[in-house]
Subunit: 143 residues, 2 copies
Amino acid sequence: MNKAKKKIFADFIADRGLKTTRQRDIILDAFLASDRHLSIEDLYLKLRTSHPNIGYATVYRTLKLFAESGIAREIQFGDGQTRYEHVEQGEHHDHLVCTGCGAIIEFENEAIEKLQDKVAASHDFLIQYHKLELYGLCPKCRK
Amino acid sequence: MNKAKKKIFADFIADRGLKTTRQRDIILDAFLASDRHLSIEDLYLKLRTSHPNIGYATVYRTLKLFAESGIAREIQFGDGQTRYEHVEQGEHHDHLVCTGCGAIIEFENEAIEKLQDKVAASHDFLIQYHKLELYGLCPKCRK
DNA sequence: ATAATTGCAAATTCTTTGCACGACA
DNA sequence: TGTCGTGCAAAGAATTTGCAATTAT
């Protein structure tokens, strides 16, 4: 599926008349090879070891492109760090966020989504996207 | 109920050995008299007209105290602005956020909360709080 | 060739902090 | 009187932007 994402991004780049660059390739590989919920700093530090001269700004700009192309999504857990997660087509999930260790667990729940639709409908509201996060303690941190 | 909140805050101040000040009174009044979802800047600007010499820092510090005392809660809608909302005891609600005009509509849904508890339980996760936001277009912005 | 991209540093934006002065208990 | 709070400006933290040099089409 990484191949598919690479294609999506390549097409996006082409459609927009943008350019394929060494940096974008490197950042894309690092992103695809990584954790599903990555802060910009995480990715930057990870890259830095093998590619010491990639700039912070380039990472920021490239991740924004990933989000625009649809292969990534920006998420915020309220700790002041923007994170990016991988987007799988047709899939949606929400998060359990551990306030102890910062672990992030994904879940999906069809029933909750249905109820959200109902709530929206009852307010005559057209949902574009949603965010559901349950904050608390993961099994380990509960001790 | 504003009276109740004032008492809660006064008690909090007393318990901590802090002091009642003119600024805290003014900011509390402005907060209680305002919209349920207020950014710090909104509140600061609102205050500025009647009390031009209240500092930004004081507003920040005071809102943090409100949150600690339990009469307010910090919320973030991902636009880089921290907002504070009023807390009613025993009440919990979630938000519909209009991406067109920024309107915020509150809702409560018992069934969704129950399902959240179930999800958490199935992951052996102890929920402390949660955040559910549905982003999209409000009736007006749908046209 | 031409236009986009990069890396750096400087600029922004939001929030926090240090400190001397003033106010509350 | 002693401690806490305030206002200001400076410091931080995260992110964005301007620009000259570089690179992809």
